[in-house]
């Protein structure tokens, strides 16, 4: 590959979005637009003829290097198999509150976290980390949530009492005293 082609390859690789030709000319002021165009063409041909896992594509007025479609399925499957997902900070906080305060209703969790948690509860339930364990007394008999055996398994705990600093949290997360 000639220098200009290598420079374009590096730039397209490092850019977070498709790069229009005008911006590519800023890379090499000595190169004419025609030279840039022919270098792009050389890169495209190199990827196609030489047999690469990637290809050069023109998208939305710009140029971008993309993985070839035939490999995307295998890549996604490998990611799922090898790269475990992590919970978001919000989901972890919700999970922690439920772990230490169960059984607990959605409104109490929202009081502590200060934000709505409806969708988080749903996704934690889909992941089988929490489940509905009953209904509270009182108006509307709201659902109460608790952690599942899978939750204990995830943290290698035998039972809930093994959670560290339970005493501190029990105090901090105590329900507010009822008005008389």
């Amino acid at each position: 590959m000639i220098h200009l082609v290598k420079l374009l390859e590096a730039a397209l690789f490092a850019s977070p979005r498709p790069v229009p030709v005008e911006e590519l000319t800023a890379l090499a002021s000595e190169a004419s637009p025609a030279e840039i165009a022919s270098a792009l063409d050389a890169l495209r041909v190199h990827y196609d003829v030489d047999g690469h896992g990637v290809e050069l594509a023109e998208i939305g007025g710009g140029w971008q290097i993309l993985t070839r479609a035939e490999y995307t399925g295998a890549i996604e499957r490998a990611q799922l198999a090898a790269r475990p997902q992590r919970l978001s900070a919000a989901a972890l906080e919700t999970l922690a509150i439920i772990a230490y305060r169960q059984p607990i209703g959605r409104m109490e969790v929202e009081e502590i976290r200060g934000v709505a948690v409806g969708s988080i509860l749903k996704s934690l339930q889909e992941r089988a980390l929490i489940d509905v364990v009953g209904r509270a007394e009182g108006l509307g008999r709201p659902l109460l949530y608790g952690t599942t055996p899978l939750f204990l398994e995830q943290f290698a705990l035998r039972h809930l009492e093994e959670l560290p600093r339970a005493d501190e949290l029990a105090i901090a997360l105590r329900p507010a005293p009822q008005p008389l």
């Binding site: 990611q79 919970l87 906080e93 772990a99 949290l169 901090a172």
Partner: protein, 271 residues
């Protein structure tokens, strides 16, 4: 500073010190003995902390780290703290106080068996070496980090919808961090800030010994500054009790709430 100085420090604020400004500074610090006027321009870079400042001082003055001329270095340290206007940084003042204490300890008469004499500088040397070692690692990290920063990774993010089917990665550490976040934002009264300050009983013992060796007696109020922090008061209290137990001094309080009197115990010496 040589290889240990980072580029960031080199780019940091530079303070040029002329002989005049040093003289002015000296007048403002009566506690520091006057030094020969500095007749050349000194460039002082920004420091990452008191140990960094002390270490570069040792290097600049070309002294042996295993045999630090403590009086001279303490004076230079205080001078730089003044010039760099680090007076408000407790960490710098704490190290300055430590240097002065070591200086006092060095002046103590070493009676009798020399083998039992412990170099008061030993702990400082150990800390300096440990710090210097860490700075060596910083150099390595900086070099590797720069190398990596000179290359771009792929920036474009492929769309991949979050799939519930993927296995979960959960650690107790993550859960505990979440717990800490909750504790910080919920009930403020239950959150205590614990000040990281260990007691320095050994330092207090050394100070009492040096005072008693010189004057035979002292009073509590003379050993503990009025604005002393709780850890200093506690350190001194423990030091006095320890020394009384060792029979090196006697403690007496003539009447309730009076300042405790500390006296050299000569009976212990005779025994």
């Amino acid at each position: 500073m040589g290889a240990v100085m980072t580029e960031e420090q080199a780019q940091g604020p530079q303070v040029g010190v002329h002989a005049e400004s040093v003289t002015l500074v000296m007048e403002a610090v009566p506690a520091v003995a006057p030094v020969q006027p500095v007749s050349f321009l000194v460039d002082l870079p920004a420091y990452a902390g008191p140990l960094d400042l002390l270490l570069s001082l040792i290097r600049d003055e070309k002294v042996d780290i295993y045999d630090i001329p403590i009086a001279h270095i303490a004076r230079q340290f205080l001078l730089r703290v003044r010039v760099l206007q680090l007076n408000d940084a407790a960490e710098y003042l704490e190290l300055a106080a430590r240097l002065l204490r070591i200086k006092a300890q060095m002046l103590l008469p070493r009676h009798g068996e020399m083998e039992k004499w412990e170099d008061p500088r030993a702990e400082l040397v150990r800390r300096l070496l440990e710090y210097q070692q860490m700075r060596e690692v910083v150099d390595i990290l900086e070099r590797r980090g720069d190398e990596r920063r000179s290359r771009f990774a792929r920036a474009w993010l492929q769309e991949s919808g979050e799939s519930v089917a993927a296995p979960l990665s959960l650690s107790l550490g993550e859960l505990l961090t979440a717990v800490d976040r909750i504790l910080r934002v919920t009930r403020e009264p239950t959150v205590h800030t614990i000040v990281a300050r260990t007691l320095d009983v050994a330092g207090a013992i050394a100070m009492v010994r040096s005072v008693i060796a010189e004057r035979r007696n002292a009073r509590w109020g003379e050993l503990v500054a009025r604005d002393a922090e709780p850890w200093q008061i506690l350190s001194m209290l423990l030091a006095l009790l320890e020394l009384a137990k060792l029979g090196e001094l006697r403690l007496a309080q003539p009447r309730p709430f009076a300042s405790v009197e500390i006296e050299h115990d000569s009976s212990g010496e005779a025994a």
